[in-house]
């Protein structure tokens, strides 16, 4: 039996790329979907608001693990068998991220003072123009630090994608451990990979928060 070596690190690095890829899918997909839900959540239409609230509550109230199972096995129940792992994992993480990003962004949109809406309204701007030209640019500044912070959660939570057979960083660690059984060395290395992905993000988030706070005055 071979021991932990460069080949394993290479394998982990390759799996880390899948972690990054899956995170990117979840962030982009979840971002688009979450943005749409956030807009519905603050829309003037009560039915749209209720629909958005229900969606957010359901997504936030469901463990990601169950969400992934539901998609992987649930889709099979309704007739589609053999869903590729990347699709199931990507869809599950997208939905998960959308529920949280929608709520984060709703908060940011609503934290722009009501007087800004009013000022824009009094200039005869349409609702859409008020949103896109006045509110969202201000909400974006507020939203950047928590959004980058949430990115860290996404990266870490991609590890759950292993339950649908997706080989990312955590699953790669398990596979190596199954063959050479050096759990401590292997999982410390896996942790170091995660840290290397997440640390720059959380540092970036904190520095964004600082600079935005300073230039606010």
């Amino acid at each position: 039996m071979q021991s932990f070596g460069l080949a394993h690190v290479e394998f982990l690095a390759w799996a880390a790329l899948w972690t990054v890829g899956l995170s990117a899918i979840a962030f982009v997909g979840g971002g688009l979907l979450g943005f749409a839900v956030a807009l519905l959540r603050v829309s003037s239409n009560p039915a749209a608001r209720v629909a958005a609230i229900v969606y957010i509550q359901i997504v936030q109230g469901t463990p990601l693990l169950i969400l992934l199972f539901l998609i992987y096995f649930g889709v099979a129940v309704i007739g589609f068998t053999g869903v590729p792992a990347i699709l199931a994992a990507g869809a599950g993480l997208t939905i998960y991220a959308s529920g949280f990003l929608a709520e984060i962004w709703r908060g940011c949109i609503q934290s722009v003072p009501k007087t800004q809406w009013e000022a824009a309204e009094c200039l005869a701007l349409t609702r859409w123009q008020r949103m896109t030209r006045v509110i969202l640019p201000q909400a974006l500044r507020i939203a950047t630090p928590p959004t980058v912070g949430f990115l860290v959660q996404i990266v870490k939570n991609t590890s759950l994608a292993s339950v649908v057979g997706f080989v990312e960083l955590a699953q790669a660690g398990k596979l190596i451990n199954n063959s050479i059984f050096e759990p401590f060395t292997i999982f410390v290395t896996v942790a170091v990979f995660y840290f290397a992905l997440c640390f720059p993000l959380s540092t970036w988030s904190r520095s964004l928060e600082r600079t935005l706070n300073v230039s606010r005055r």
């Binding site: 000022a119 005869a124 030209r133 201000q138």
Partner: protein, 263 residues
């Protein structure tokens, strides 16, 4: 004294445009407005003719801001009618955007858009609403900015401007839409006396140019000098109304007390 200091006012009195033109720019008739159980406007009626400058005075909480906000359809009323520049504000089918093209409003707290420069603040509505090109809107912005004495501040962000300068940009932003009516809600109340003067000067110039204006103000001297009509509001009602001279000879004990406290 005011006739000498302000020749256009005298001219306006010689040819009373309000009665000659017929339809007033603003007409409130028996307006009632409550917030829940709190009655804020209790049968307010008020006419403001073309070129008129109406100053609304009164204690804090008497309903002055609410009256202005109703005129601009920022609040809905429960009873009565409001007509503004030909728009029926009380009508549920009111075209709010058409109304806002005719009416400018300036708030106590300026409400400039912090992510835009002074010039961009002003350019936004003309490009979005009137379909102007960027270049046209920029020329317009420069013009209205120099009108309020801030040509050199075009590229400053609101946070880089003093309160008085921000308020003048806010006025310029409204003027860029070429409104037929301007509403001012205590626009100098957040400013120290020195900055108040520069904002009042801009408003006085506007008055001289014939802009129809309704202003809520605590500046009694300014109301007396510039307003063609002074409206004293008390407990959600128009308690007393008249010309600036009314302030020297109040008819009701409430106005007398208010002036006594205010000056």
């Amino acid at each position: 004294m005011s006739a000498v200091a302000n020749p256009t006012r005298a001219a306006r009195e010689d040819t009373p445009r309000s009665s000659q033109a017929g339809a007033p720019v603003v007409r409130l008739h028996d307006v009632h407005k409550s917030f829940g159980a709190l009655k804020v406007l209790d049968g307010v009626s008020l006419d403001v003719g073309p070129g008129e400058i109406a100053a609304i005075i009164g204690q804090s909480g008497s309903g002055k801001s609410t009256a202005l906000r109703c005129i601009n359809a920022l609040e809905t009323i429960q009873q009565g009618t409001i007509h503004v520049c030909g728009h029926a504000i009380h009508d549920p089918g009111l075209d709010r955007r058409a109304l806002r093209r005719d009416v400018g409003i300036v708030f106590q707290s300026y409400n400039l858009f912090p992510h835009l420069t002074a010039e961009q603040n002003i350019m936004l509505a003309p490009t979005c609403v009137k379909g102007m090109t960027k270049a046209q809107a920029r020329d317009l912005a420069r013009a209205v900015l120099s009108h309020v004495g801030l040509a050199e501040k075009a590229e400053h962000y609101p946070e880089q401007l003093s309160g008085g300068q921000q308020q003048r940009v806010a006025i310029a932003r409204s003027l860029a839409m070429r409104p037929k009516l301007m509403l001012f809600d205590e626009v100098t109340s957040a400013l120290d006396p020195q900055l108040t003067g520069e904002v009042l000067k801009v408003m006085e110039n506007l008055a001289r140019e014939g802009m129809t204006m309704i202003l809520v103000t605590h500046e009694m001297a300014f109301a007396r000098k510039v307003a063609s009509k002074v409206v004293y509001m008390h407990r959600g009602r128009v308690w007393e109304t008249g010309t600036g001279a009314m302030l020297d000879d109040p008819q009701t004990p409430e106005l007398r007390a208010f002036i006594g406290n205010g000056l």
